[in-house]
């Protein structure tokens, strides 16, 4: 008969689960970076209230935040081929995306997803900067873009980092959704190892510890950036 809990098995399975860590990190990192770029562009569009684009950005944010991530990934991965299939049947064309590796779909889907969430965070941080700062930039004839780069954005970083770090950490864990499209990340790997050995509890603990370490490193790095970004602020005593 088995034990309720088998610590030795836990230790044994670490290396095997860790095999999939590069996949998780790669997907999380690349889609995180792309997501940040998307978020930056979208938040700027909303902040500057650029016509035509601003309402489109709103729809994008609403759709992405409003629908399950799982569905978005499936939509990108299975929907695009299905859509092409329908097109092909109708018009006799022969579009095909099977050459594209599935990891690309995963990254696209996750980046689009993370971008929507992060753009809202960035927008609110931009609005939190005192309007006098922007006025001062204009008064010395900076363009809005220059003002953002030199003055406004640096002041938003301290405010934006904690919620952005929420999004980035969520992203690392959301990476597990890629198993939906047959990519084996550490969560999928854990499920596979767990299924083989019938020890889900231990394996979930293993995977949690790995996630925790990764997330703690990311959170730590970001908190250092936060402290640096707030270096010019004045503290109130007690």
């Amino acid at each position: 008969m088995g034990k309720i809990f088998d610590p030795e098995f836990m230790i044994r399975s670490f290396p095997e689960v860790l095999q999939a860590l590069p996949t998780t990190l790669f997907i999380a990192f690349v889609s995180g970076v792309i997501g940040l770029v998307i978020a930056f562009i979208i938040s700027f569009i909303r902040y500057a209230n650029i016509k035509i684009l601003s309402p489109l950005a709103k729809v994008y944010i609403s759709f992405i935040r409003g629908t399950p991530d799982l569905v978005q990934i499936m939509l990108v991965y299975y929907g695009i081929p299905l859509f092409l299939k329908a097109i092909n049947e109708k018009f006799g064309t022969s579009f095909d995306v099977n050459g594209v590796p599935s990891i690309a779909f995963a990254i696209i889907a996750l980046a689009i997803n993370a971008g929507a969430y992060m753009s809202e965070t960035m927008r609110s941080s931009l609005l939190a900067v005192d309007s006098g700062q922007l006025e001062a930039c204009y008064s010395v004839n900076m363009t809005r873009f220059q003002a953002l780069r030199k003055v406004i954005i640096p002041q938003t970083i301290g405010i934006a980092i904690p919620p952005l770090s929420n999004s980035l950490i969520s992203l690392i864990k959301e990476t597990s959704l890629v198993f939906t499209i047959s990519i084996v990340d550490i969560m999928a790997q854990a499920k596979i190892v767990g299924a083989r050995s019938f020890r889900f509890f231990e394996i979930y603990i293993v995977v949690s510890i790995i996630y925790w370490v990764v997330c703690a490193v990311v959170a730590f790095a970001l908190s250092k950036v936060e402290v640096y970004a707030r270096r010019y602020e004045r503290k109130v005593d007690s």
Partner: protein, 253 residues
């Protein structure tokens, strides 16, 4: 779709993606080296050897999206301990040959004596994994008998159902006896099981996408399955992976 063609001694070899859950031992799982294995896969490998023109590539995929992946052409065959039922047959193509007979049992906490058939479950709560064939059968039974059984859906994973039984949150589950016993043993959960007369024994098939390509594969593979049955390969594999011969209806009982 899913075809990267290479030439090998004048025979044109097509690579076919085969979907599998990869987390349902002993039927299908991924071994330590990252290779798919299990009874389902072993059968497919034997088929692979027989069918010159096809080469199989196994893709473990989350249960949630395994059918969606098939429909969208990400793979053309599913080998994942699947039984037939009318709904499935409407949408997909099955191998005419079953390669296994699954026997589902009613599983309950060891020591209980009050459950002998589905009728004994009236008024009781039964855990049922979403999307499995036994669940579909149970739903049918329940519908025909006035919905007297309380179905508590679970996330597919037998683990959850066993935990629920052990903590008495549910009375029973209906599931493949092989997997369940294995899991329960590992977890140290004591269970008993009864074959449910109402559910009987259900044949397990391979599943194909419902189009020309699918029926082409179906024909090729059916032929291979017949041969494998004849030469005793299926029986050998069943004993190797499942501990017993479940490849004929009689032996499975």
């Amino acid at each position: 779709n899913g075809a990267a063609s290479t030439k090998k001694n004048t025979v044109k070899v097509t690579t076919v993606n085969v979907g599998t859950e990869g987390a349902y031992p002993p039927y299908n799982y991924v071994d330590k080296n990252g290779k798919a294995d299990g009874y389902d896969i072993a059968v497919m490998r034997a088929v692979d050897k027989k069918v010159q023109s096809l080469k199989f590539n196994y893709v473990p995929t989350a249960w949630d999206s395994i059918f969606v992946a098939l429909e969208s052409g990400k793979f053309d065959i599913i080998a994942s301990d699947l039984g037939k039922n009318p709904e499935r047959e409407k949408k997909y193509l099955f191998s005419e040959q079953p390669y296994l007979y699954g026997s589902s049992q009613i599983i309950y906490k060891a020591g209980r004596t009050d459950i002998k058939s589905l009728k004994d479950l009236y008024g009781k709560t039964v855990a049922a994994g979403v999307g499995t064939n036994t669940t579909t059968a149970l739903e049918h039974f329940n519908k025909e008998n006035g919905n007297k059984i309380k179905i508590k859906y679970t996330d597919g994973n037998i683990n959850n159902a066993l935990q629920e039984i052990d903590s008495k949150r549910v009375d029973a589950t209906i599931s493949s006896i092989i997997t369940t016993k294995l899991t329960a043993k590992k977890l140290g959960i004591k269970i008993d099981g009864t074959t449910a007369p109402e559910l009987g024994i259900s044949p397990i098939h391979l599943l194909f996408v419902k189009n020309d390509k699918g029926s082409k594969y179906q024909k090729l593979i059916d032929k291979a399955l017949i041969e494998l049955r004849k030469d005793g390969t299926l029986k050998k594999l069943s004993i190797k992976y499942l501990g017993k011969d479940y490849t004929t209806k009689e032996s499975a009982e």
